[in-house]
């Protein structure tokens, strides 16, 4: 906004300083500590390794100790089905909630989005899963996440459908297309932008979640955050910072790669969906 010369020179300087201080320092600490020996990493500092680089040794140790592959596929086998369910079921419900009107719809919509505000009742959720004998299973975890984030999905998708005109569906309906066909061939393709936004947010939440996972599958299945916690809690008195941060690098890589490849779409997806 400001056109004064000094501000134009100072502003990039501030940006660089903030980048270095707020991001460079923490990220450097992670990387450099993951390259140190156990003793060197006991008090994590920004300095270069004193007794040589231990990158290969640390990463291979944490790979086996933290069961990285198992955890990666565990996380994946939870995130993928949850996301598909959330998008598909959310879109189906959102279509009805956006297009129909009346008191019943208003009440259903309020119930449908209640989960955005209300926190899940984790303890009794575990009890319910036990009664259904799916506690500690991936199925149980997938259904729990689907329940927790269904409101988010319904909220975003309903809001989006309300902004698109109904003429296309009307035309298809007059041509005699059934609802399933209209939904699959017309509605779903139109929803691509909002489905992208919802996918990003849902994947971020579920991929990184450890709280609900503790209660539902903790100790029985491997996910990346659960195993990070296990690695971090393994050294009871002395933290194994070199292993913790090697694990942090490994577990962050998949999401960071996805983010690096698709950052433009991710950023426009989030801002496009959130601010209407």
């Amino acid at each position: 906004m400001s056109t004064s010369i000094t501000w134009r020179v100072v502003r990039p300087g501030i940006v660089v300083a903030l980048l270095l201080g707020l991001l460079g320092v923490p990220l450097w600490l992670v990387f450099i500590t993951s390259a140190k020996s156990r003793g060197d990493a006991l008090s994590p500092s920004l300095a270069l390794p004193r007794d040589g680089w231990h990158l290969a040794a640390n990463y291979s140790e944490v790979f086996t100790e933290g069961r990285v592959w198992k955890a990666f596929f565990g996380s994946l086998s939870i995130v993928l089905p949850s996301t598909v369910l959330l998008l598909l079921l959310g879109a189906m419900a959102g279509w009805v909630l956006a297009r129909r009107s009346g008191l019943v719809i208003a009440v259903l919509y309020a119930i449908g989005i209640s989960g955005i505000v209300l926190p899940p009742a984790v303890i009794t959720l575990v009890l319910l899963l036990r009664q259904l004998s799916i506690d500690g299973t991936l199925t149980g975890m997938v259904l729990v996440y689907t329940g927790i984030y269904m409101s988010t999905s319904i909220f975003f998708i309903t809001g989006f459908i309300r902004t698109i005109p109904a003429e296309l569906e009307e035309a298809a309906r007059v041509d005699g297309a059934g609802p399933v066909r209209i939904f699959v061939t017309i509605i779903l393709p139109l929803l691509r932008p909002v489905l992208a936004t919802a996918t990003i947010l849902i994947c971020l939440y579920i991929w990184n979640d450890v709280f609900y996972a503790f209660f539902v599958i903790g100790g029985r299945k491997d996910t990346l955050p659960l195993n990070l916690f296990q690695v971090a809690s393994a050294g009871l008195y002395l933290n194994n910072w070199h292993l913790i941060f090697a694990y942090v690098v490994l577990m962050s890589l998949p999401l960071l790669v996805v983010f690096a490849v698709a950052q433009r779409r991710i950023i426009s997806g989030i801002t496009g969906g959130a601010v209407k």
Binding site: R11, P12, A93, A121, T124, T146, M150, V174, M251, Q263
Partner: protein, 308 residues
Amino acid sequence: MIDPAGVTGTATQPPPGRSAGRPRPAQPWWFLAPAFAVLIVFFLVPTLYNLIYAFTDWSSFKTAINPVGLDNFRALLGNGVLLTDLRTTVIYAALVALFQNLFGLVLALLLEADTRLNRFARVMFFIPVVMSALAVGYIFQALLKPSGALNSVLGWVVGHEVQHAWLADSWTLLYVALIHSWKWMGLAMLIYLAGLKTISVDVLEAARIDGAGAWQTFRRVRFPLLAPAVTFNVATALLGSMNSFDIVQATTGGGPAQSTEILNIFIYRTFGQGLFAQATTMSLVLLLVIALMAFPTIWLLRRREQAL
């Protein structure tokens, strides 16, 4: 209402007078069924259970579950945990809502111009949002240790050794809230950037012609026009921090002396001890507090949006 048979029964008969080309309504009711089935079974039923089991003596030490009335509430009020943890949670949420928005807004204003450096910085500041909150917690635990990196940087600046235990002093709750805000400030920044983009150039031009300086333009024109972005950011920050767990667990685990024990930490801890009824009671308290805090806040912010 969601009964598919009943709905299709009425729908196959088009009302008289309507064109025969519309055999069925476009959106059948049963499309709601799968989403609501999952929502009801895995979200609403546990919430209802919460209302029942908070008034029992359910624990891992007994096989039978008996109703005990308000005993759990009385016990948690009696030893002071309920009010202390509640206070901690509310203060934490307020601090996060404040700082996450402040950081996000400052970053958005700083990175508003579409330069190369700014585009790069926007992407970089989004990295913490993508990272796991548990990992973020460990990073800051390492940074803020007495022998950690922050103290060595400070020691280098002031010229003598600094050994302050940041995560064990009386301001720790503030520092943890700052860490939480650091993790999510990139998201707030994006929302504010999108909000700033929607402000029309004409409005800013008019303000400039009227002789408004940069600060005045921001205070009187741009900030009020950001109201929807503020609503979204404050609401998400409040809800996110009330439901927080990972960052606090990874930095302090609720300490020192339980001064950063937010409700979810208590729930996790007591669940681990097998005291299921107490954990359930606290879960119910969290539900009530969030409902009591979030709904009026969102309503207030919405009203402010309309007033501007």
